[in-house]
Amino acid sequence: MDRTAAGASIAWLISCAPVALPAVWHPAEAALGESSRLALAALPWLAWIGAPGSSRTSPLGTAALCVPPLAAAFAVDAGHGRALVPLAIVSGAAIAMVVLLGLAARGAAARGSDRIYAIAWLLLVPGLPVLRASLEAGGAPSWGAAPRWLTFLSGASPIGWAWSGCASTTPEGPGAGTWAALAVCASLLALAVLPGRAAP
């Protein structure tokens, strides 16, 4: 099994956990509470598929692997009584982000812009939400919430977007956060396919 298949299998396993665990182990349902299973299922794919070197082969075929777990999470969220239209929008946006990030990682590897792409990915995908979480956790309770600009920027990260969706009990429609996260993914793709040194 190649590295991409191994990574995809691990992402798939983590992605299925929010829907599979409560079905086989009762306390998991209470632990997950009201969090959106759809956003939880999307989170591992958004965190992994764009990582430099993650999907060097067949990015579309790899991205397609995320769709059945998202469909299962969609069904569970619908069972929790969540509105279908916002759920459909979140699903579509998550799949679009996974595809864009997969293509970006593949494009960066093919064009030899791995290093620039890696820095940009590190900053925009895991970096901003981690920075915000660190500041808020480290500064609590005296310093309160992170500055608003950081809150907005971390929400534009695909990971931050999915995380805020996990916490929300009422998923919203295509708000500014969704468009910003899509724009970040598209920017990473554009950066990855910019003319550069061709891979040997």
Partner: protein, 344 residues
């Protein structure tokens, strides 16, 4: 003959009304001056009220918040905290302020206390968590989707097509079917000899109500250890969000909202199913429309055990389920002791 024996055995399993006289939605007044963000008014382990949102610098507001007071005789002043605005000095005078003004008179509890003890002591509707889980067939399909997806991964078109077909199958097999029963139970408790009745609304872990509705109700929980958290949005411009509702959450507990009712409140509803207990025997009576005589006995199952248990002996009792539902997963029941069919 067997039904009364089974019901007698079931009776201890049905939750009894709690004896505490507290109100988990006891109203208190708080005066806040901006800048204040994400206000938390806490009663420690009992719970708290949270107002999400922000009051801007210079804005001042007097607001009413529900607080989970479990013991009415020992209502203590809450602790108040909030998130300081970004960059504000936590020690400065411009940090904003919030001051507890006191508890309001608990009129809802007083009205409930005025009801006959028999009505107040009736068993509360049992309600459990609704846990929509993925169906086994849908769950079993997921690994198959992974294996085939990995095999087709290098052929993008085929992989995408299979992902769509597989997802459609997962959705079809896992889609929740039918309303989730028992998400909200409303029971109208009445007694032929009492001028007032009691409305009990039961939900699991979460209840929503406007301020006007809550001012008229007493809130209880099935689990005394559950921490009650009331939340509401603090709207922009320092106003409480228009038409906003308070939401109570209590992990691992049912929430009961109690309200005193005028007698006959349940009589104007068409009942889809009715049961009558006479001489210690329950008989099913089928559907009953208002204004009609109670139908004669018909073959049918006994009433739900939680409605038939814990009732006074030796008097007729009517139990019925309303035909209309005011929302998905919502059921309304009526239960009247000392029932007499005035049309017969």
């Amino acid at each position: 003959m067997i039904a009364p024996v089974i019901l007698a055995w079931l009776a201890p399993l049905v939750p009894l009304a709690p004896v505490a006289n507290g109100n988990l939605a006891r109203w208190a007044d708080v005066e806040i001056s901006g800048p204040v963000r994400d206000l938390v008014i806490s009663l420690g382990s009992a719970g708290e009220a949270r107002l999400a949102g922000e009051l801007l610098p210079g804005e001042r507001q007097r607001i009413a918040v529900p607080l989970p007071v479990r013991d009415a005789s020992a209502a203590v002043a809450p602790q108040i905290g909030w998130t300081p605005s970004a960059g504000a000095d936590p020690e400065s005078a411009g940090r904003g302020s919030a001051r507890f003004l006191g508890y309001r008179e608990d009129r809802a509890s007083a009205r409930i206390e005025d009801l006959p003890p028999g009505l107040r002591a009736r068993t509360r509707p049992p309600i459990g968590p609704v846990e929509p889980r993925l169906r086994a067939a849908s769950l079993a399909l997921l690994p198959a989707c992974l294996v085939v997806g990995l095999l087709l991964r290098r052929r993008s078109g085929a992989a995408l097509l299979f992902a769509l077909v597989g997802s459609a199958a997962v959705l079809f097999l896992g889609w929740p079917r039918g309303a989730q029963p028992g998400r909200k139970l409303v029971v109208l408790e009445t007694d032929a000899g009492s001028a007032e009745g009691l409305e009990v609304t039961a939900t699991w872990e979460r209840a929503r109500a406007s301020q006007a509705e809550l001012e008229d109700r007493v809130v209880e929980s099935s689990n005394d250890a559950a921490r009650i958290v009331w939340t509401r949005q603090l709207g922009s411009g320092g106003e409480l969000g228009p038409a906003g509702e308070w939401t109570a959450t209590a992990r691992g507990s049912a929430l009961w909202l109690l309200r005193a009712l005028a007698r006959g409140a349940g009589r104007d509803r068409a009942l889809a199913e009715t049961w009558l207990r006479e001489d210690g025997e329950w008989t099913a009576r089928g559907p009953w429309r208002p204004g009609q005589p109670l139908p004669p006995p018909v073959p049918g199952p006994p009433p739900p055990g939680w409605l038939a248990a814990g009732l006074p002996q030796g008097i007729p009792v009517l139990v019925g389920r309303a035909a209309e539902r005011s929302g998905p997963g919502e059921e309304l029941w009526v239960r009247e002791t000392g029932f007499r069919d005035e049309r017969r």
